[in-house]
């Protein structure tokens, strides 16, 4: 079992990056395929195994030559619960669960670097960093890419770039994204306008855990859609510039709220804090919304400070699979809601008295 499942959290959650009050994390994902093997949708089980072996050998070399240490896990060696925790920590995609037979995942100790093997493409390299750090994330991803390419032969054509199973990823094979917390834009009903502007620029917005029901807590992921015709640097520049603009809009909206509705806002975030520190039953959705309110209250210094790291960690710790993995057993929904409430109380009350 990945040490990362048990040790509290991934590095990206520590809240240390620039603009981490609004930009929770920055992520770069690179799709790569091996030349001589059919793509995962068309390869045999034996071929899938050989892909894992080849990547594992390249990873071993990477470990030997550098300071990072990556570990390879086959999905079939993990329990279903452990796999779902990897999804909640954004280390593998929900789709990857469907290839539990043939899939594998590679993770660094601090979980900033990871690789999905045999998802839609043979390799999906990923780097997640705290705050707005797209450039450092790209540099780290590109270095890992170079290191692996010393032993792996990645499918590439000069005309259309890196070849991917889906033509929506061809070219750079890169998906760059930022996870942003935009409560003030949401409260002031400005999201449709902002989202519209983002889409006009050819970028995509979605909720935190991808599925509609979970798109709550005012967390929005913004990413590029175009992968062919622009360089990685251009794509990242566009996304960074846009993120900075949205960040400024969110800050302005917060100031407006403070100016026009300070008492209502104070009341809202204080109630959220009160519920989180005292409730005995807490659903996942309610927790996400209240954590969003508390986060805003902390950013605006309306309530006692809670480290951003704890709020980030709670975003993952209160997810169903993670709660169960900490309990060491499968739990029914009622039991989960009780454990969630108790976990949040503990985590926040340990901070009381500051």
């Amino acid at each position: 079992m990945p040490g990362g499942i048990n040790h509290a959290m991934s590095k990206w959650m520590d809240g240390s990056g620039p603009e981490a009050d609004i930009v929770v994390s920055s992520r770069i994902r690179l799709a790569r395929n091996l030349t001589a093997v059919p793509f995962p949708n068309r390869q045999s089980k034996e071929q899938a195994d050989r892909v894992i072996e080849q990547v594992a050998a390249a990873v071993e070399r990477f470990n030997r030559d550098g300071p990072m240490h990556l570990t390879v896990y086959r999905l079939r060696d993990l329990t279903p619960l452990e796999r779902r925790v990897l999804v909640e920590k954004h280390l593998i995609s929900p789709q990857h669960l469907q290839s539990a037979d043939t899939g594998a995942v590679v993770v660094s100790q601090d979980e900033t670097l990871s690789i999905m093997i045999n998802e839609e493409d043979h390799l999906r390299l990923q780097v997640i960093l705290s705050g707005l750090q797209l450039e450092p994330a790209w540099e780290a991803a590109s270095r890992l890419d170079d290191a692996l390419a010393e032993t792996l032969d990645f499918a590439f054509r000069e005309d259309v770039g890196y070849l991917t199973a889906c033509p929506t990823n061809v070219g750079t094979g890169m998906r760059a994204s930022v996870m942003t917390h935009l409560p003030a834009l949401a409260m002031t009903n400005q999201l449709p306008r902002v989202v519209g502007a983002i889409m006009k620029l050819g970028l995509v917005v979605r909720g935190l855990y991808g599925e509609g029901t979970d798109a709550i807590g005012n967390m929005f992921q913004i990413s590029n859609q175009i992968t062919l015709g622009q360089s990685e640097e251009e794509i990242i520049d566009n996304l960074r510039n846009l993120t900075v603009k949205i960040l400024q809009e969110e800050r302005t909206a917060r100031e407006d709220l403070l100016h026009d509705a300070r008492y209502q806002l104070e009341d809202r975030v204080s109630r959220a804090y009160g519920l989180l520190t005292h409730a005995r039953i807490m659903s996942s959705q309610e927790a996400m919304q209240l954590l969003s309110d508390v986060r805003l209250g902390v950013d605006l210094e309306l309530i006692r400070p809670v480290p951003i790291g704890i709020l980030n960690e709670l975003l993952v710790e209160t997810r169903p699979a993670y709660l169960q993995s900490m309990a060491g057993e499968e739990l029914g929904p009622d039991e989960r809601d009780r454990r969630r409430a108790s976990l949040i109380r503990q985590r926040l009350q340990n901070r009381a008295g500051i």
Binding site: P38, V204, Q230
Partner: protein, 176 residues
């Protein structure tokens, strides 16, 4: 799929709404989605992007039915273009070679572009970078000639010749 609101434009945005605990999925075009003001929940654009892609491929194939030589197929993995347009997924790296003519318009629709301008793998870097440069110089040369800027055109032509000469000397030259 057509937009559920206006039933005119293709639905490119999928919106999941939660009303009284019930999940309702809406498929809208960009315009109606913006008008509806319900954009806070765009669920999994990757899924809608893929729907969009297969939709595009299907309409493409219907439009060209009969006009296209039947049975374009990848000789490496056996994937047919028909099958690709149903799933939106190619079967292997060689599919790109066998389907390139059909893929070009698809690239243009998705990315607005058909040529890679990003990272080059280290093993190809030297020669590939030079070839990319030659191509860019040719484009500048074309524009210089169009603008009847012959002095610049002459300089560009010399530069291209030099680069091409050095490329031809390169031992590890690979076809592009």
């Amino acid at each position: 799929m057509l937009c559920q609101q206006c039933r005119k434009r293709p639905a490119t945005v999928q919106i999941t709404q939660i009303t009284d605990g019930h999940k309702v999925e809406l498929h809208l075009c960009e315009e109606c989605a913006l008008k509806s003001g319900k954009l806070d929940f765009i669920s999994d654009p990757q899924v809608s992007l893929e729907n969009f892609l297969t939709g595009l491929l299907q309409s493409d194939i219907n439009a060209a039915a009969g006009a296209r030589p039947a049975g374009v197929q990848c000789q490496a993995c056996g994937m047919t273009y028909q099958e690709f347009s149903r799933t939106g997924k190619l079967g292997c790296a060689e599919c790109y070679r066998f389907f390139m003519d059909q893929l070009q318009p698809v690239f243009r629709r998705i990315h607005g572009n058909t040529r890679h301008h990003g990272k080059l793998p280290r093993r190809l870097e030297g020669a590939a970078r030079a070839r990319r440069e030659v191509q860019e110089l040719r484009e500048r040369l074309r524009r210089a000639v169009e603008a009847e800027n012959f002095e610049e055109a002459a300089a560009l032509r010399d530069e291209i010749r030099l680069l091409e000469a050095s490329l031809n000397q390169e031992p590890g030259k690979t076809g592009g």
